[in-house]
Symmetry: C2
Amino acid sequence: MKLRAVDIGKTTSAASIIFDSLRQAIIEGELNDGDPLRQDEIATLFNTSRIPVREALTRLEQQGLVESRRYRGSVVAGLSAEEAAEIFDFRSLLEGEVIAASVPKMTSASLLEARQHCQDFMDSDDPLEWGELNRRLHYALYRDSGLTYHLKVIDNALDRVERYLRAQLLMTDGLDLANREHLAILSACESGDAALAAERTRQHIQGAKHTLIDFLEKNKGQQSRI
Amino acid sequence: MKLRAVDIGKTTSAASIIFDSLRQAIIEGELNDGDPLRQDEIATLFNTSRIPVREALTRLEQQGLVESRRYRGSVVAGLSAEEAAEIFDFRSLLEGEVIAASVPKMTSASLLEARQHCQDFMDSDDPLEWGELNRRLHYALYRDSGLTYHLKVIDNALDRVERYLRAQLLMTDGLDLANREHLAILSACESGDAALAAERTRQHIQGAKHTLIDFLEKNKGQQSRI
DNA sequence: ATTACCAAGATTGGATCCAATATTCAATAT
DNA sequence: ATATTGAATATTGGATCCAATCTTGGTAAT
């Protein structure tokens, strides 16, 4: 027997489905800071009991996307300007390191894929796509480093700030600048200059941080909808 | 009435108590890589139902301390030499950055506390205490940075490798070396030299990494009990 | 009017029960 | 003897129910 079995249905638990949906809704900004997440409401929404909802919520809490208080329920976790700034610094440090480790190992396939994602990013005009496209691009640039732990942590950090990143891209020239920077990072990778790629990656993220902080300063207290 | 009620018992959920206990048992090496964690067994151990056990397990899974497979249960997550090495690199990068940010802001109280923990560490001869003492020392050195996100991530990374760290300290001169390095880091902090403190911190962690890798190479396949 | 208090409803945490899947092991066929 | 099958058991995932706590709204005392 040479065939390999492939499960058709029931491959994922209800908890995982709910987790993925909630995570997406949060990082896309469909749910806002402080929005309550009632177990019962979500359960009826997914036609399940509250049990898998609770599992999804504890996972999200561990990832810092929701905050729960005993007997008081869960809300979408907010992010102060200071926290956001810290996470951008964090990403800057880590992603610089990871891309530097990646460049010497990068295959032409990865470079090709990165270029494609770069193009996709420029072609897209749907803000909700940007997050996913950005992730794919970065993943193509980073994965050959083989630093799986680093990548997981970076991914988690990105989850926390993706909403704010979108706000930054929506600003005047935000998207153009991001595209130019992506191309610059890519070309540094293609020429095999690890240090340059790292530096440009750090600058890219630091730039995003500062534009975002300016944005938050201007709209201070206005509880801006993104 | 001016007093604020403070619950004596019941302040923490059953899930949290179970989570803390399991986490401690794992990072102390009381439970070993691959050991199965049966929901029923743990539930009877804590005189609860399986519900809070499941919450504890999903939290631990999110932190990478256990691995769960659908319908197959959870086991204590193992760590290959490569993964361990990567996490040490990760810590080296982050902790260097954090201590550098901390030094210029460090209060004399923190320095004093750090020196005390350093002393405690030297006085202790109980391997099971080392983890906690090490954490306290590092926390005293890092906290004034105010980089709470970084600190949380570092703490999590430490959870993953603490067992292996103990193995490294138990080696000949391992403890003496660690103590000397701690003192060197502390003195760099006291003299306000952020760059030096960062460099020594990175070296401290890199050193630990290499001793550990040598150790794992030597005992390859012997499934060593720590 | 303001504050303290108490009861009713809402919501979460945990227990118990049932369903779905995996594992074990004896029985059978080769 | 070895491999295969299938029933019995073990274990997890999810549903339902109960208990503990919070929240809200109204009432009474000052």
